[in-house]
């Protein structure tokens, strides 16, 4: 037991102290934060740009409509630069004014010009020409301002007090959209899908990264021949167990750090978004019960044991990293197979595919946590999934330990599948 601890300690400390671990652990949350914050920030950028304020209004109405429109476009701002310039034009001079404005836009003095006429006041037509004509938010802002101004002048015509028209026409509507699919409303369901995806992706990545870490670690011990010295001091099963547990603990440490910092970042998201000047959309974190958390942890640990012991077996059977990459292909296919089903299972977490995949040990460590995140899983299915996964782990460990103890001492050419099958039958 003391020796197992020695092995675990070495595997853990050597990795946690390495600069790659520090970099990955630090960059992980930055990456997650980027994923969460940048899209929201970009979304906020897709509000109207500042360019809209550099529009020239060519007012041929002779009613001061342009001036009011200008104020409506500028909105609440008191910044003089943000109030579009208005040129009062006699209708006959309009085409000349338009050519002047066109030149100004071409020489980039102005962004565009808006022509308002009698027909605009009547609510029939208005024309805009400019470099930003394809910007939907800019055009939307101008259109809204036009409507507001038209409405205000109509209200005045029927005798409503000038001071009240603004109040009546100003509609700061916050328009949220929600998607309905065959599964029902999106909304808060979206958060749990994202959560499920995050869990699945995290497990998937961790198994791949740390599975390969174990494989490299075994190859290093084998090729540097340290393995033989260590094997003369501890049984190979202890060595294998120490490796799986030590590297697993590193993976767990990283995940805990990632999840904690990501959680904190999410909590701090609103202040951060406010700093960036972006409006915040409340982002409900799904509540996780202690029981669910323990189950997630169990799936992580079991899934990790299942795959990493097999990775260790592959590492022990080869003589170099290059050989390993090839020899690990079947394992990679198994994991990618599970990864491919992340999305289908998210979309249909109660279907037959999801049910079957969460029973098979190859896929269950990734698929079952996803299902747990997005839907309720019947206790019987849960028990079955964990039960089969434990059996899978025992089988994987049995197989791996037998390949491992023979493979570590076999140098030279890469063994064939048949030779490896024979190793399994060796006594020791």
């Amino acid at each position: 037991m003391a020796k197992l601890w020695t092995i675990i300690k070495r595997e853990y400390l050597e990795r946690v102290r390495s600069k790659w671990f520090l970099i990955a652990t630090f960059l992980g949350p930055v990456f997650f934060a980027a994923i969460i914050i940048i899209p929201a920030w970009l979304a906020s950028r897709s509000k109207a740009t500042n360019e809209v304020y550099s529009t020239v209004i060519l007012d041929a109405t002779g009613t001061g409509f342009g001036q009011r429109l200008s104020v409506a476009i500028a909105g609440d701002t008191t910044d003089k630069r943000k109030i579009p310039q208005v040129r009062i034009i006699a209708p006959a001079m309009l085409s000349a004014a338009e050519s002047t404005a066109t030149r100004e836009v071409m020489s980039k003095d102005k962004v565009g010009y808006l022509v308002v006429t009698d027909r605009t006041v009547a609510g029939e037509t208005a024309r805009y020409a400019g470099r930003n004509a394809s910007s939907l938010p800019d055009m939307a802002q101008i259109r809204t301002a036009l409507r507001q101004t038209i409405l205000a002048s109509r209200l005045e015509k029927i005798g409503i007090d000038n001071s009240r028209t603004k109040e009546l026409t100003f509609i700061p509507l916050d328009f949220t959209t929600e998607r309905i699919t065959e599964r029902g409303r999106g909304g808060s369901g979206m958060a749990s899908v994202m959560f499920g995806f995050a869990i699945g992706f995290l497990l998937y990545m961790t198994i791949i990264i740390y599975g390969q870490t174990i494989m490299s670690s075994v190859i290093e011990e084998k090729t540097s021949r340290v393995a033989e010295v260590v094997m003369s001091s501890v049984p190979t099963d202890t060595l294998l167990a120490g490796k799986v547990l030590g590297v697993g603990a590193v993976g767990l440490t990283q995940q805990v750090l990632w999840i904690t910092t990501t959680y904190v970042l999410l909590k701090l998201r609103e202040p951060i978004m406010a700093k960036l000047g972006a409006p915040t959309v409340s982002f409900g974190l799904p509540e996780i019960s202690l029981g669910a958390a323990i189950l997630f942890l169990a799936f992580f640990i079991l899934g990790f044991i299942f795959y990493s012991s097999l990775y260790a077996a592959v590492g022990s059977s080869v003589n170099s990293e290059q050989e390993a990459r090839q020899a690990a292909t079947p394992l990679m296919i198994m994991i990618v197979f599970a990864g491919v089903f992340i999305q289908p299972v998210l979309l249909n977490p109660t279907g037959t595919t999801a049910q079957v995949l969460s029973l098979v040990p190859i896929t269950s460590p990734i698929i079952m946590p996803i299902r747990m995140a997005v839907t309720g899983v019947p206790p019987l299915e849960m028990a079955g999934s964990i039960g089969f996964l434990i059996l899978g782990c025992i089988a994987a460990l049995w197989l791996a330990s037998r390949i491992y103890r023979v493979g570590l001492l076999m140098y030279g050419k890469k063994p064939t599948m048949r030779e490896m099958a024979r190793w399994v039958s060796y006594s020791r």
Partner: protein, 331 residues
């Protein structure tokens, strides 16, 4: 309780295609320096791995200091230097040694004290430079070998097993290793080494066992072994000139049964009934300038060649090839 450090009784280990060790019985007296000799592929490493309980024999038993080799307590009394050496390259030297010490049950302050002591003894720690703080990678090959010795001996094992310890050693480290072996022997430890370098074995070992193709060919105290093979051998050394005549004399099977030709030095086994005086006369007549002509006991090298070449059909050529390879490689 027994006085033997190792009792191997009828041990056989088979692999898919071949039998690595066949019905091997060996006793290594406690406190002796014991040589396990044999050509490459003879089963030395397999035997050592079985002693260390890295692999288990198919049949037979191995007892160390009277206990089964699978007894976990026993492993802490063993020190092992494998043929192919290596350490964790990215680890600090001190951390590697601490790790190895902990695996043998030496922990904490005690481990650190011993590491410092050994590092100083092998001048890896001097007032100017403490290599213990460097990574294994940064050490020269010679220094890494020293670190590996330390790792083998740190827990002061009762039984030290060295697999081909001289391979790849520079002369300075080779001498340090010999000194260490002698020192271990004085302190009553048992040292086993496997080698195909007969000169080293002859000088260092109290007893030897020669194995070939997985089977024991011969074993016993070095003096006894040599006496038992006390045929009349001649050591002949020449001073350069007159070599041409010698070759034909050595080919005369009525006079010479076997000759080991090392250019200027010859170890000659006389043919049955041949008279060494006749040989001496013939050599003088050939005009060679003789530096030494002495009747000697056969060297282990000679015995080894004879025994190994008899052990199987592939015969002498194979044995020669192995010995030559060993000599040119590391001698």
């Amino acid at each position: 309780m027994t006085d033997n450090a190792i009792d191997i009784e009828g041990v056989t280990k088979r692999y898919a295609g071949h039998t690595a060790v066949r019905d091997l019985t060996l006793r290594v007296p406690a406190g002796s320096v014991y040589g396990l000799l044999g050509p490459n592929g003879a089963g030395k490493t397999t035997t050592i791995r079985m002693i260390l309980n890295i692999i288990a024999p198919d049949t037979g038993t191995i007892r160390l200091f009277g206990r089964p080799s699978s007894d976990p307590k026993i492993t802490e009394r063993l020190g092992y230097l494998p043929e192919e050496r290596g350490l964790y390259r990215k680890m600090k030297v001190k951390d590697v040694l601490k790790f190895l010490a902990e695996l043998k049950g030496v922990r904490g302050k005690e481990a650190e004290r011993r590491i410092d002591e050994w590092m100083e003894r092998l001048s890896l720690k001097t007032p100017e430079k403490d290599w213990g703080l460097a990574k294994v990678d940064e050490l020269s090959r010679g220094m890494q070998q020293k670190v590996q010795f330390i790792g083998t001996l740190l827990h002061d094992p009762d039984l030290v097993i060295l697999d081909e310890p001289f391979s790849g050693l520079d002369p300075v480290n080779a001498q340090a290793l010999k000194d260490t072996v002698v020192d271990l022997k004085r302190r009553g430890r048992t040292v086993i080494f496997s080698t195909h370098l007969m000169d080293n074995a002859e000088r260092l070992c109290d007893s030897v066992c020669i194995i070939a193709r997985g089977e024991k060919v011969l074993d016993g105290a070095v003096t006894t072994v040599k006496e038992q093979h006390g045929k009349r051998n001649i050591a002949l050394a020449l001073d350069g000139g007159g070599m041409e005549g010698i070759a034909s004399i050595l080919r005369d099977t009525s006079l010479v049964r076997r000759a080991d030709d090392s250019n200027r030095f010859f170890e000659i086994e006389m043919a049955p009934g041949a008279d060494p005086q006749v040989l001496l006369r013939r050599v003088i007549e050939s005009g060679a300038s003789i530096q030494r002509f002495e009747m000697i006991q056969p060297s282990l090298h000679q015995i080894f060649l004879e025994k190994v070449s008899r052990a199987g059909p592939a015969g002498e050529a194979a044995a020669w090839a192995h010995v030559e390879e060993g000599m040119s490689g590391h001698g």
